[in-house]
């Protein structure tokens, strides 16, 4: 073992980790064959919500399984989408009377596996809709790419969709609420170090002692530029400026704020960053309706953080405030 990780064997990381999650959370059941973590008691009378993707983003997505949020999380290998068979099994295990919404981050592997699985489930009569999240403004959309990456903003989409489902809305309405959240959320992040995929054993990229990757992706993909580090205030200024511009947000429009750590950045720094971001938003007259600070969509052991802003209207506010018992996104209402 030459990488410093608390593990046994790289190939067992996902299985052992998920077992540990399930152990610690008495409200979920764990299907090790298909790597599905789902609510112990499903409510067949509401729209089912499923998300998932590669592992390595903990607490995403298993930490968002709970009343008012997801019904199941399908866990792929580290940074690899779950297979279509896993997703298909997840769809079958959790199907209720009102159909299922899949929330997928915009990566080709995830899209192909989730949509193939949806097609298979539909053949069996399960109604399935899918919402794609592509909130990362680091990557400019262009004719040559297939859209932006889905990153931490996904957590807001889970929350909004979860509330809509819990309120008893039907599939098309839940889908519309999730889509509204996806349309109104933007994220940008930066890394002070690379992540190390356990099976690879070495850092995905190299950074100099004073360098950062601005606009990094949650799998350690390159961002907008490799630069020298800046202060928290300088970073907050720049990130908020770009997010507001991309969202076309105007003075007085309310937002929800998510300050998300990438895994190895301590709460100390995240809270400090939260203060910088709040002052920055305050300066521009953007009221923060609700804010969340912590590790929500990590990149294994990467150092750094992302800032997400969700532009709110009355409907989104109400859904954001709706109670959630998901262990990593508690909302008391």
């Amino acid at each position: 073992m030459d990488m410093k990780k608390i593990i046994n064997r790289p190939e067992d990381v996902v299985l052992e980790m998920c077992s540990g999650i399930a152990h610690a959370n008495p409200d979920v059941v764990w299907n090790p064959k298909y790597k599905i973590i789902r609510k112990k008691s499903l409510n067949p009378g509401k729209v089912t919500l499923i998300s998932g993707g590669g592992s390595g983003h903990e607490p995403a997505h298993a930490g968002y399984v709970g009343k008012g949020m997801l019904d199941a999380a399908i866990c792929g290998d580290v940074f690899a989408s779950p297979s279509q068979v896993q997703v298909y099994q997840g769809l079958r295990e959790t199907a209720g009377e009102k159909g299922t919404l899949l929330i997928v981050k915009n990566y080709s592997g995830d899209l192909m596996n989730f949509s193939n699985a949806a097609a298979m489930a539909k053949e069996e009569g399960i109604s399935v809709e899918m919402v794609k999240v592509e909130d990362d403004i680091a990557v400019m959309d262009s004719l040559y790419t297939v859209g932006r990456r889905g990153v931490a903003g996904t957590v807001f989409v889970h929350k909004i969709a979860g509330a809509a489902a819990e309120k008893g809305r039907d599939l098309s309405q839940v889908c519309a609420a999730a889509q509204k959240a996806a349309d109104n959320v933007r994220t940008i992040g930066f890394a002070y170090s690379s992540c190390t995929v356990p099976a690879a054993g070495t850092p995905t990229f190299e950074l100099g002692d004073t360098q950062m990757e601005y606009g990094v992706g949650i799998h350690g993909e390159p961002g907008r530029s490799r630069e020298n580090m800046q202060t928290a205030d300088e970073m907050a200024h720049r990130m908020v400026t770009q997010l507001l511009e991309d969202l076309s947000l105007e003075k007085g429009e309310e937002v929800a704020l998510l300050v998300n750590g990438f895994g190895a950045t301590p709460l100390q720094e995240l809270y400090l960053m939260n203060y910088s971001v709040n002052r920055e938003l305050d300066k521009r007259g953007i009221p923060v309706y609700r804010e969340f600070v912590g590790n929500y969509m990590t990149s294994i052991d990467m150092e750094g953080c992302s800032i997400s802003l969700l532009k709110l209207d009355e409907e989104l506010k109400e859904l954001l405030d709706f109670p959630s018992t998901a262990p990593y996104f508690r909302v008391d209402g």
């Binding site: 590669g54 068979v85 592997g109 690879a200 993909e221 390159p222």
Partner: protein
Amino acid sequence: MNARQVQQMFLCVAEKMVASEEFLTEIDNKIGDGDHGIGMAIGFKGVYQELENKTYTYVNEVFHAIGMTMLCVMGGASGVLFGTVFISGIVNYPEKKEFVLEDFANIYVKSLNALKKRGKAQVGDKTMIDALEPACLGLKKAAEEGKSLHEGFAYAAAEAKRGMEYTKECKARFGRAKYYGEKAIGLQDAGATSVYLIFQAMSDWVNENISKEA
């Protein structure tokens, strides 16, 4: 080639792919997220176990077993993509106890088309398509020209290699490599490398195990 031979060939391909894990990881590390080698190793370990002690009557069954295993055990983009390579070609293809070069050409070309439809990538997008398309078209050309199995597979492998080398020149439009933009130029695509390795292993097995007269 009969079903047993195709089965033996893919057992050999599977071994070689599992052995290539580190090499593929290295490539995907540079312009992807470093998991392609792991994914292929998981997939082909599964394939090996699946094929190991089975007896198949039709060649189609071998392809079906391989494709289904990959779709099941392999996640990521490559799980679907490589699963599709093995599954799509044999959908509705008449069951046969023996495959000649033309059969291989038929099913691979069919798979290629399914894959392009599925993933939307074209030649030049720096994906496995860059290797798969010339390899499949190579098989087809060889079959049309009445070449032997050996010649056909060797030609396909050479074409795959050419395609793999060609990916070094392109910027990626799909998969995680696209975020590397210009930085990816000069580096080859992991999926295309896997395609080449698979076709090369098939060709090698045929050379070593099928008499030239076949």
